[in-house]
Symmetry: C2
Amino acid sequence: MSQTIGFVGVGRMGANMARRLHDCGYRITAIYDINSASAETLAQELGSAASETLAGVTAAADIIITVVTDDAAMRGIFAASGDSLLIDAKGRTFINCATLSPATHLAVEAAAVALGAHTLEGCMASSITQALDGSLYLMVAGRPDVFESVRPILEKLSNQMRYVGPSGEAAKVKALVNMVMNINTAGLAEGLGLADALGLDLTMVREIFSQTGAASRVLVTDGEDMQNRDHACFFSAAHAAKDSGIALQLASQLGLDLPLATATRAQFERMVKAGLGELDKSGIAELTFRGRS
Amino acid sequence: MSQTIGFVGVGRMGANMARRLHDCGYRITAIYDINSASAETLAQELGSAASETLAGVTAAADIIITVVTDDAAMRGIFAASGDSLLIDAKGRTFINCATLSPATHLAVEAAAVALGAHTLEGCMASSITQALDGSLYLMVAGRPDVFESVRPILEKLSNQMRYVGPSGEAAKVKALVNMVMNINTAGLAEGLGLADALGLDLTMVREIFSQTGAASRVLVTDGEDMQNRDHACFFSAAHAAKDSGIALQLASQLGLDLPLATATRAQFERMVKAGLGELDKSGIAELTFRGRS
């Protein structure tokens, strides 16, 4: 527990991961967020310090966990000039937990390694409640010795960890997971939307789905919410659109045509354009139920 | 067990249902199939009689179980003129187990009831192995007293029975089940196809899918088959195209736009056009893996 930990990006996931590690006895020595009030509030809660600069986090912590929104934000915090996590980064280990394109992970790794720092991908396939109770499903990629050096920390965050391979590989698998999850979510919304239009009892339909080839994890996590229009956000429609986009970009580079993933991204982008992007992904049912949107 | 049973349509599902009821001690007194050799072979196996006419089945059995391919075949066996199951049908009960449009169930019921016969929908959400061992998931619709009159027979076929409502309702739910199942199948094929193109270990990817939001029943039933190109048919791509089409027709009548279901039907229709329609639905992976089709 002698390693000190910094956090960059303390939205609900990052904040809960910080709370969890603090609860486990780790010292969170620096917190940065583009929204400085978020960093201040969490720093007070955890007896930590909000950092006004990215460089300040690197200066204050051995291990820096980053949970930012997208590729652009990630490249911004690891910028080659101006304020950056890379300033005096020698010996530091960056654990990057956002869902990003593989190329961004590789670019960040190359820049960090050139300065004598290390990076690891820790892609999460879980949500905010799992972050708080240490039960994240974590897909790890990077150098095995770097993984070993931070394994005790990761084990406090995750009860299911899977080493996937070299850097960039976890981002690939994560993009696939979310692409398939988003397809299943969009498909479920169509099934329940049609059931509703047919005048069927949705509770009965969900029960039958659960016993048949229509069963899925998203039926369990999102089916009732679709029925009840409870779209409090665990994983936003905007994130779903972004993640399906990462997978589709990989597919495009490889010359693959994926019509279901394409249709799914279009649906989540419709939500964003309709101002529904901050609803939970279950909110896609607002597009498929008659009279809702 | 005093009720005698006839079968119309003894493809692999119908034949296994007949075998199961025969094994349970029921007398299968007449078997008809458009392919008369299939009827002859099964009749010999079960000590039954192949009927050369539909009317002959109605004459020989109290309960007639029909398992035909589609709406057109169903309307053909219940034709208003010529050879038909409706000839001298008074007092008979027809249990219709094919996946049909709700409108066809209602039309057949109206014609049968006018002659003093009864009908019941017994929509199956399972496959040939479950038909043989009596573990079908059965969605039943029709008049409750008709259901009660044949319940002992259905209980030999199904260990999970769900009464859905009046005639036509089971067909609606079945269309929804298969529509969502087909979407999940097509989406899984895209996920594994992209994983393969990315050079990832598909066994690892399936294991990760199973632990995350990408998990689904079709991952369990079809994932390994997609990886291994084992597309021996349990539920054909041609049937998947047809069933998604039934759901989309219902949606169209109600003014609903379902982009995922539409894209899924197009994929299964591509298989049919490519001569792959008799592969199992898992064969959709042949479209999404590079270098396969």
